[in-house]
Chain length 321, copies 2
């Protein structure tokens, strides 16, 4: 089968491309290379079943031209829509960033799927659609959805537009609510930040917030595996799944200590105040993956194991291993 | 206090303006007059505490100019954001309509509230954010939210953007999920359609669908009363309330029979097939207003009473009484 991946030069997109090519698919990848990059695609660029184009997906006309060119010679069956602004704090500062890169890319993707008769969308949504519900465990049937970042808001807006399109022109829609995903190629996130800080000043690590924020973490290989599992097994017209660790997660303090232990055992860790790192950060998060478990998928790594594996991978990527 | 009403020339907006002026508020009203109209504002236009401007709210620059002009001489405390595309089928045909008129008007409203330091938004959301959940009773904590119309999708997108803004710059946000609201000035809706059809052909009424769609209906006077009650009584930073009838509603067949009995007792009613009138219509709907009841508000009229009252009002408006 031939699939389009938007955001293919990003962290998850490049890993998804690698997995799909490995199973024999033909993959067309689009990315505007604003947060994604060509080096992220190093492992797939030489594959002759992979084609990449630099496309600004928020520009409908340019997106249409690029997609029509590829759709002319192939039958694209699925769009994996992963393109989004991945810099959440940037979107808090300027809501237009998430509007353009997270929502309008979805809106345009749906418009072109309608024009070209592409039936199935697999969408990278986010646990950020839920907002801050304290200790309440959140499953797919939880509401109200009150995101506290523009990133989460525009992910929810995208879910909504996809849901409406499923009623009018899509055949299938898969909405994956992502957890905190870690691994390589890393471009952002707490481990990446800590590694970079220690690279700059090896004897000191400043942590935003008091380190008590606790979240589950999933390795990107497991995330991709879970998505492909749901794509194959779930039967609903609109399938919405939380994907995530099956444990209650680890704290920022644990991650800081692990990064320090791996890279700079003598570094001092300095914590800030409050349990929110930045506006839009959800301090504590209980996230049910029972629906995914019932479908038959469970992660092999615990959050702690995923964190330790990702620390090693990111340190290697940053040539600190 | 001084409030801005967007969509003031629409059905709910014009009624809200009347109620706010009656209690002594100063009201600034904006509307692009695309689905709203000046005649809708007949009862408030002469009030010297009311000021109206024709503004295209999806155009940020024009919206900013108009709002800055009014904000210069007054302290606007609340924005009642009611502007939206009210033609749901039009938005199913072209998603750009709801994007522009329902979502971008919200996005721009939030941007200008941030610029001008206006703290409180009261937003007309919709029961359409829920989607089709069959017989399940839907309350504010129900999910997933899977709207089946672009109208519902862009209302949900608006809720999401408001929620994120509450985290960064708003003081208070009130999200009202509207039921089917009836009364005058009527511009659309099932009663309005039936009255118009009978006006054109008094001996025959064709009904879309088989007439079994059942929904609760609330009179607009009660809707406005409920919103003002919640605005005053609810204490949360983001308050989300279903507003609606407290009964299980009436069928389209009941409405058709009541309109015929009132206007053309000898007309024949012809039903269509299926229990969806059009793409985006939710066939049956169970909608909990328990949260609103717990806060202390209940409608005085049943759905059937609200329908009968609205039929009389709409017939009078259309000079058929």
């Amino acid at each position: 089968m031939t699939v389009l991946i938007t955001g293919v030069a990003g962290f998850v997109g490049s890993n998804l491309a690698r997995h799909l090519l490995a199973r024999g698919d033909e993959v067309v990848g689009f990315d505007n290379l604003r947060t994604g990059s060509r080096p992220n695609m190093a492992s797939v660029m030489e594959n002759r079943r992979f084609a990449f184009r630099e496309v600004e997906l928020s520009d409908l006309d340019g997106y249409r031209s690029a997609l029509r060119e590829f759709a002319a010679g192939r039958r694209i069956s699925d769009v994996w829509h992963l393109a989004a602004n991945s810099d959440i704090p940037a979107g808090v500062g300027d809501p237009k960033v998430d509007l353009r890169d997270t929502f309008m890319t979805t809106f345009n993707t749906l418009a072109l799927m309608r024009e070209l008769g592409i039936g199935t969308i697999c969408f990278a949504s986010s646990s950020a659609v839920y907002g801050d519900h304290g200790d309440r465990e959140l499953d797919e049937a939880s509401g109200p959805l009150l995101p506290i970042s523009n990133y989460g808001a525009m992910k929810l807006a995208s879910e909504a537009a996809i849901s409406a399109s499923a009623e009018s022109h899509l055949e299938r829609a898969f909405i994956f609510r992502f957890p905190n995903v870690i691994g390589v190629p890393a471009t952002h996130g707490v481990i990446f930040d800590f590694v970079h800080k220690l690279k700059a000043s090896p004897d000191y690590l400043a942590v935003l917030g008091d380190g008590t924020q606790q979240k589950g973490y999933l390795h990107v290989d497991e995330l991709v595996d879970a998505m492909l599992f749901v794509r194959q097994r779930s039967t609903g017209k609109v399938s919405c799944y939380n994907i995530g660790a099956s444990d209650s997660g680890v704290t920022v303090r644990f991650i800081a200590e692990q990064v320090v232990a791996h890279l700079a055992p003598h570094a001092r860790i300095a914590f800030g105040e409050g349990n929110k790192g930045w506006t839009g950060d959800v301090p504590k998060f209980r996230y049910s993956v029972a629906k995914l478990s019932r479908l038959g998928w469970k992660p092999r790594l615990s959050s702690a194991e995923a964190v330790r594996r990702a620390i090693g991978e990111i340190a290697a990527q940053e040539s600190l291993a």
